[in-house]
Symmetry: C2
Subunit: 222 residues, 2 copies
DNA sequence: TTGAATGTGTAACAATTGTGACATATTTAT
DNA sequence: ATAAATATGTCACAATTGTTACACATTCAA
């Protein structure tokens, strides 16, 4: 059996190394691998365990009733997928999950998770915190969607993703994905982006963005 | 000290009655009361404990960066307020909380919650489930916001809230609140509503809604 | 009961966004 | 290297929504 390194996984990192190994020895779980661009979980499927992304990255997206897709997020290993839903009353996945590269996923049954939480309080604590952080993420997502103008969304997004004043930073989404993330039409996003560029507020080079005028960008939120 | 009935609270209901009493005897907590229309929690405030709404009802809303408000939900006692945020890394309330009537709130410190979870696995389990359900709620909210047309939002909302085919049901929000909930302008909502009424798809009498044409309503989602 | 406050209906017009189409650029796979 | 696939820029026009304003209805409180 392969050694699996979970030290950089937020819900397992607090475990002592030797604990981690006994943990994994005792643990009942299964591992599956998937190829690139596979749809591995469909929105609405029953979620009867914890799906831990061990290797690779996936994207999650929500299919709206009108058939549009709303991009939710990109998840890189090692992180659990939709961990909250194991315990919800209606335990169905709220999103489609598609691989972005070759992916390895470990599935741990719900009762095993329960046992882990009871026997290992560090695990319980980090599991709680991780789920809490996910809630916060969703809240932020809600906030972004509640901004009505496209320029406002762009401003919110760029200000959130920029590091230090004036320095370039990378956005690992193309325009189509950004448009999905914002829930707007792609040409509309392109138009708004090019207007902000023409106004000298930001500079875009491929996926590298630079904020040239913070004040101007912040004013787009109003 | 008053006896407090938590049997209808989702995170406490599974506790045995006698457990509940010893639980509350040992528990460190404080109770505060508030009047109607008080702003009791401000978006961004530190959340250093579990706030349990014991009596009354409150509304939560998010203040967007552009100054608009987005109505999130109405919470009726007994239910915890933003329980997930106690454990998040950035433990700040994501919303404003305003009382809708006279309200009583019990605050339990974070470490007490931790102790409860460790000593009482039923509590832990229901706390997990409740938080999971909240995540699902937020996901639904996200789904509603991701529908682009106002008629689509109305359709989604009414289909979700209707009980059995053709029977009237009550929506406990006025138009202004509904508009906030949908994140749209009030007159725009009124216009869309009246169009749907004129098309004979629904009937509105005060806050009582009746769906007259399910097929037609569903088509608005497309 | 009566005035005040709040909620609803509606209109003209402005602003923003979506649509569909196309050319061009860039990336990817063979 | 080259064709195919994907991504981007841009346009004219349609559709939807927001804005502001005001009349009228309803509810609430003194």
């Amino acid at each position: 059996m392969n050694k699996i390194d979970l030290t950089s996984c937020p819900i397992c990192s607090k475990l002592q190394i030797d604990n981690q190994e006994t943990l994994l020895d005792d643990l009942k779980y299964s591992v599956k691998t998937y190829k690139k661009n596979e749809l591995i979980i469909r929105q609405g499927e029953i979620c009867d365990g914890l799906y831990m992304l061990m290797l690779g990255s996936v994207k999650t997206e929500m299919i709206t009733e009108n058939g549009n897709t709303l991009g939710i997020e990109i998840i890189k290993a090692p992180l659990p997928l939709a961990p909250a839903f194991v315990f919800s009353d209606n335990n169905r996945f709220p999103v489609d999950v598609t691989t972005l590269e070759e992916v390895e996923i470990m599935k741990i049954p719900k009762d095993e998770i329960m046992r882990l939480m009871i026997t290992n309080h560090d695990f319980m604590s980090s599991f709680m915190t991780h789920n809490a952080n996910r809630t916060q993420f969703l809240t932020n997502r809600l906030q972004l969607l509640s901004i009505k103008t496209i320029k406002g969304k762009i401003a919110h997004f760029l200000l959130e993703n920029s590091t230090s004043e004036g320095k370039p930073f990378n956005i690992n989404r193309n325009q189509t994905e950004l448009a999905e993330f914002f829930g707007v039409a792609r040409p509309s996003l392109a138009r708004s982006l090019s207007e902000i560029v023409q106004d000298g507020i930001i500079k875009i080079e491929k996926k590298e963005y630079t904020i040239l005028n913070y004040k101007g960008l912040r004013e787009l939120l109003i």
